[in-house]
Subunit: 238 residues, 6 copies
């Protein structure tokens, strides 16, 4: 199993709130974790910035890029920005081509991305569909044929959306993130413009942690929930 | 994690066709595997026997008990019969009481039982509901209070029904049973009365095996599919 | 294909509103159609009667039995009453035994019964589950073993509930009932106590008729909608 | 619209965690709110008590009854105990008869009860099915015919289960409980044996509050989520 | 709550059949109701016109525009045409930009649009997705930043499609339209080319009316059914 | 009923594995069957070819075209290639225009195409959506108005995907293909590059055959499963 992981995130906040624990935990275990951040959330997730006078799109993007870079570094991950525009995402063929290259090069052990539905947000399902398409096309040997092709399509985990039931999200996997919770929580503070969400996502982690304890019978405090898109293949059930 | 497992099966054939690989595989790994066989399938799954003249219910039951005992032994498992009657199952309070005791005593690392729906068979969902209820009541400390209570409700895997899509069955977990396939296949032959199903379930194993290979990127030939009832709690996603 | 049909109806009105067209149409084609009416609807579907002074349960039942007999006769069907009590249905083992016998004796070409869900009515899903169980147990050769067993479990069609979307009802089959509409409509008038539903179910027939025309491209005016519980097996798709 | 409300709760904790805000809020508005508590949770939801030596079923029940009475009083509601036994609920015909009487007498403006599914708990869906059946049978004029019958089947709201996504629970209605939050939170403390849940359900209230604010555009802090079983009938959409 | 409403309709007939009652009722209550009609239905919903000789696309569009203007006026609403083409809708970026402006300017108290699925019609779900996207992007403060931004994303009601069950439509809200039924019915007659639908949609109104009466216990005759996309936030449950 | 049929297939293999029986059977019955093959599967379904040195896209396409032509001929069908590119499909307006013309000209008695969902393959659901859109637009009389318009939108059958449960595929119709199985199986061998799938799809046919026998009570060996998109309209239920 490849010890690399790929995170396809619509906006900077998403990889922190929804997958910050998984990123930090696997980085700590020695995984190479790469985040592809499709947009800066410059139009739709920077309400705070736009309330300041004299703000421009470029200034907002620069600010959010800076935050995202620091957040990725704090969690122990690489980050690549596609700057594809937000609300809505405007994904060009060149973005898809680049994402397929990343899948092939990284050959990730697993992929994290958004839920397939979200009636509150059009960018999130678009990002998930995009991550899915690239994962599949990377399998097509006739796409940029190469002699040393050894790509294997990885399992996909969908991360928890803001209002999970409204997105038909099912928490099929709960990841114990106790070992990296402090780091995840500190990373929240890099996202200064979304301070109103810090406590919200701390509560999400506590609820999933308690549920993780209930479902496993093993004590844990903080969790992240994921939905698997494909069957899990195992050698043992317990 | 407890290295014991519990299988709650409506009829003798079910634990062979649907979970024979899991039983044999975990037995081979050193698990104590216990099968609770709720009924002998004497009325509804012994068409062959009933075509013989002079047949009686007791004779059919004795024959099926013998087959089931040999099948369980072949797979490496213990078996306990509830003789609760089939078509429909007639589960008494004493059966429930006994099953709760088994949960408490065995404290299984996981439970295998039927799918929650099956429009072709009323005993299968009844068995699943029953296994579920016992699993839950075993958690009630006020049920037969005991000083050394240490029961932990185990994860539940639902096994594949005969016509999976009609039962809304989703193969969320595929178990690689290559190491025990020969044994599972030989066990089929103990079920002499259901010879028409041998090839059917060999094909099921091959289809799930090929799907397992596709979903994991690792070669495998034979599989068993399961649906999980509760979230999987993990320390690592890959 | 056996030219017999079985209708398992919770109350008298149900077989008229929901399946009156199918009954009349198949009777006209020469089918032997048998209705099993589980209860008289004496407590829960006789509001009109109970507003009369001096009413007793027996009087209400007698009145509803009379209506049901006349309605069945008008549609061209036999009827058998189980008098199992309504709101809720109280189905005894002897009723189940009798229903299984009916399945075996009639060996119906198809069965009509209620939808599997109905949050407005507990008797309807109970009747459907009951019809299902009897259909399955009738297959068990060890249930009343008989030398000349030749029962074949028939396809099941679920009839349209009062508020179809709330019951997760899907109209997978639309039956053209133009040839018997007048008869069905006249039969409504036998159900004097439920006059407020005559126009409602006339509109249902017109809506399903128009939808039938749209879905087939063939003109029709009146329809009845059904949901199939099992796959349709065919020799040709058109 | 009748200014009364009925809460059908499996165990004492449920009406506090899941509906304490609704109870207190409507009581404050002048509603007569009646809680029917089907069981004391004496076997399955009193783990703390059973860890004490010399404990008996009667002592546990007495303790939980006392807590439940004080909790109901604190919230401003009446409470009636059915003492039907828990894990599993053992609902007798006499209980059903009594619950139907309560529906008829109270003629509630709305009913609160459990979600229809809960794979972690068999009592909760049983309570919901029971509340549903009584609501329906109360409509049957032939059930205890009475001259002054004026019952109207009320809307049903399902309260939020412990792990909502696993129960297929959809938060279709969010009730703003800011005005009574302090009271609800204080009532938690009456449930001394379930201290581990206080913080959990405080977080639930905060999450639903924040979601309520997002969905309405009106500031609010604490919420309770409900699922409606039937369509809402309105004179105006906004 | 803003006393304005927005209707996003694929074609002219849709806002009449599906939302004519809501439009007339809220207009009568003093709401400013604005209809955005994305296409004239000139290719796909003007079969009658195309049967006339010498017909051209421009003539058909002119005829349908005239009908739509008269229908909107009759119902008491404003109408704006996007002329985006039908079968399929061809929505350009400029249309999206305009629709976002409308959301911002009108700041509607609620939005009405099509169901999310419709296997019979590709324009309807496209219109719904489009209305959704504009509603969301209007929230993005970085989209045309403005000093006096005060937009609040409104609740969305999906209107009833032609064959509701096939579109997975659930009637969660039934609006009593008795007060404006005569007006709605008269408006049908403006749609001369779709005369075959007048009676169909009159029956829809009667069925939803009767269901509204059943669900509320309050007499009503005509209704319109809607599905809510987001939770309803309330201060009282009754 | 028109004795013509249309198959809209993403890639060459699909119409053989998934619909080869239906094609051969109806061709044998005298239907004109036309296959529209949207892409050659040159990039994503020709792994074998790309492992050969010196391979080019044009060579792969030529090879797959040749296979597809021979397979169509063997099955008794016409074939038209859109050469729209695969992984992903790149369907241009001119392709849609052509497909609509085909619907109008062929006026098929039924259409076969892919399932609506497939998380393993983006081309399959795209092909199904495309076939759906063309079927609907062909109904629009204002699309290329013609004097002799007599198109009637045909029923749609979705064919079985590779991992049916993961695609939410329900086998609502099982076609008995015993009469043409040998031919279907021989056609597999034309698809030399996908030899690993021959046995897989032979097993699919055997499983569906056995299920067809169970569901009909009539002996059969080989089947193909389909899901219907629209209600079936009938004159008789049996």
């Amino acid at each position: 199993m490849s010890r690399t992981a790929l995170v396809v995130s619509a906006h900077p906040g998403d990889f922190v709130w929804r997958a910050g624990g998984a990123i930090a935990l696997h980085a700590k275990k020695g995984y190479r974790v790469k985040i592809v951040c499709l947009a800066f959330g410059e139009r739709g997730e920077s309400q705070f910035a736009w309330k300041q006078s004299g703000m421009t799109l470029e200034k907002v993007k620069a600010g959010r890029r800076d935050e995202a870079e620091r957040a990725a570094a704090a969690l122990g991950a690489e980050i690549e920005f596609f700057d594809a525009g937000d609300y809505p995402l405007r994904l060009a063929d060149s973005h898809m081509d680049r994402l397929i290259d990343i899948y092939r090069d990284l050959n990730p052990g697993f992929v994290l991305t958004h839920s397939l539905e979200d009636p509150y947000n059009v960018d999130h399902p678009a990002a998930a569909a995009y991550a899915q398409e690239a994962r599949i096309v990377a399998q097509a040997m006739g796409h940029k044929p190469q002699a040393d092709y050894n790509y294997s399509a990885p399992p996909v985990f969908l991360f928890e959306p803001h209002q999970p039931e409204m997105c038909n999200f099912k928490p099929q996997v709960i990841l114990n993130i106790d070992d990296v919770w402090d780091l995840k929580r500190k990373t929240f503070e890099i996202l200064a413009a979304q301070k109103h969400l810090w406590a919200y996502y701390e509560r999400v982690a506590l609820q999933r942690g308690m549920q993780g304890g209930r479902n496993s019978g093993r004590a844990m405090t903080y969790g992240e929930a994921y939905q698997r898109l494909f069957p899990l293949v195992v050698e043992e059930l317990a």
